[in-house]
């Protein structure tokens, strides 16, 4: 009897099988090599500024945040915080807002300075990124993400959770009512300023960090949307500003906070959210208010209004109590 494998048909089958296996084995290796090369090639190291603070070093910090966005379009950013010498809680808020929810692969490291690394751990930052480092159970800070669904108006429940966190950490008996009111006012204001295109598309971030040594709570609110100065509602009032000779974004923000801009709807009792926050600061109920909106930086209680070199995509508020 003739052996099966020695027939012409069997030989053709075995040969075809061998060719098929070899081809796929080669393709697998090519794909694997390509992926490895790609990872090495597209990782881009972005070194954070030594003074990583939006309030005290806005230009460099915004430039760094913008580079995450632009570099991310082509490469996978690696955020290098190792050389940071000064870190503030407001920078943590904007960093988490910049890196979270992105479709790109962002990696990074923590500061070399152990005290700053501990601050990052305590801030609640690691609750919102994938890392082997976990936020400490005795965290001094809380990072709150308002999802697209939750960023649709005033979310009193989440605002009260932040206020409660600070109350417990600082051992206060009553909640910080002015901060709750400011958070509510900012949320309503941000929702109001969001363009119809951006509505429901933007996340908000709010952070609280308790400085136990100085017995103060530091709050930040970040909206990575259009920003006040570019909002439709603000621009509808621009013709008034231009007609009265108020030019330049910094002077326009000053006019807005000092109630020199009429409501766009012609309704006098509306459009007073941010001026009211400023009044609350002037009354001493909150302290060290800082506002960054698009290209303007302001510490209104100190009379500081200046144009920035870099464009901040959204609105940022910081205050202490």
């Amino acid at each position: 009897m003739k052996k099966l494998w020695s027939t012409a048909k069997a030989k053709r089958h075995v040969l075809a099988r061998q060719r098929y296996t070899l081809k796929h084995r080669r393709e697998y290796h090519v794909r694997a090599n390509r992926a490895a090369t790609r990872f090495e090639r597209t990782r881009f190291r972005l070194v954070a500024p030594e003074s990583f603070s939006l309030v005290s070093n806005p230009d460099e910090t915004i430039s760094f945040l913008n580079r995450i966005r632009t570099i991310g379009e082509q490469y996978d950013p690696f955020i290098d915080l190792s050389r940071v010498k000064f870190l503030s809680c407001d920078a943590i808020a904007v960093l988490i807002a910049a890196v979270s929810g992105q479709s790109i692969n962002i990696t990074g490291n923590g500061p070399d300075d152990p005290a700053l690394q501990q601050m990052l751990v305590d801030s609640g930052f690691y609750d919102h990124v994938r890392s082997q480092t976990k936020s400490s159970t005795s965290a001094r800070g809380k990072v709150t993400r308002f999802s697209k669904q939750q960023a649709r108006g005033v979310n009193g429940e989440m605002a009260s959770q932040m206020v409660d966190f600070a109350r417990k950490m600082l051992g206060r008996t009553t909640p910080d009512k002015p901060t709750y009111a400011v958070l509510g006012e900012i949320m309503g204001n941000t929702f109001d300023h969001a363009s119809s295109v951006m509505e429901g598309q933007v996340q908000w971030w709010a952070t609280v960090y308790c400085d136990l040594e100085n017995h103060k709570a530091c709050y930040s609110f970040v909206d990575m949307g259009v920003g006040i100065m570019k909002s439709k509602s603000f621009n509808q009032r621009l013709h008034y500003l231009i007609s009265t000779g108020i030019r330049g974004a910094a002077e326009q923000l000053r006019a807005l906070l000092n109630r020199k801009i009429p409501s766009r709807s012609g309704v006098p009792y509306r459009g007073k959210g941010l001026p009211w926050v400023y009044d609350t600061c002037c009354a001493g109920r909150i302290k060290n208010l800082a506002i960054i909106a698009n290209t303007v930086y302001s510490q209104p209680q100190n009379g500081v209004y200046r144009n920035l070199d870099n464009h901040f995509h959204g609105t940022f508020l910081y205050w202490e109590t």
């Binding site: 649709r152 108006g153 005033v154 979310n155 009193g156 429940e157 605002a159 009260s160 206020v163 009553t174 909640p175 910080d176 009512k177 002015p178 901060t179 709750y180 009111a181 509510g184 006012e185 949320m187 309503g188 929702f191 109001d192 006098p268 009792y269 509306r270 007073k272 959210g273 009211w276 009354a283």
Partner: protein
């Protein structure tokens, strides 16, 4: 149902809001107890517990009852987490606009806030500045 609700908020002798004694027969509203400890924004479109919702569902019916009975309405602002200004403006300034009379609102409602005393002046300003239309 509405009658029962109003009866339960009518003060009895020697009742107080904060340190303020409420005369018998007067009506009261405690925003924190009867509406929400976490008030929201101006309009219903801005989320739950808005000033508009408070005015329409709680404040306006009780205000009308107080006017009808010719008694004061005592509004207690204590007990919650705080008030965004747009909530207060829409609730009380909005009431003045609805009633087309700032003086009627100012003369009927008595505000109490021991935790944030400045709120009383703020609310009275919202009523006066309501710019009735």
């Amino acid at each position: 149902m509405e009658c029962i609700e109003i009866l339960t908020t009518t003060s009895t002798a020697h009742s107080y809001i904060g340190k303020r004694e409420i005369p018998p027969g007067a009506l009261t509203i405690s925003i924190a107890d009867e509406f929400s400890k976490t008030p929201g924004g101006r309009y219903r479109t801005e989320g739950p517990f808005s000033g508009e919702q408070f005015r329409e569902e709680l404040l306006l019916p009780r205000f009308d009852e107080a006017v009808k009975q010719k008694v004061k309405l005592y509004v207690d602002l204590d007990g919650g987490y705080g008030y965004p200004s747009s909530f207060l403006e829409e609730a009380f300034g909005g009431l003045a606009r609805v009633k087309k009379s700032a003086s009627l609102v100012e003369n009927t409602i008595v505000f109490n806030s021991t935790e944030e005393p400045y709120l009383v002046d703020d609310v009275l300003r919202y009523i006066r500045d309501a710019r009735l239309k």
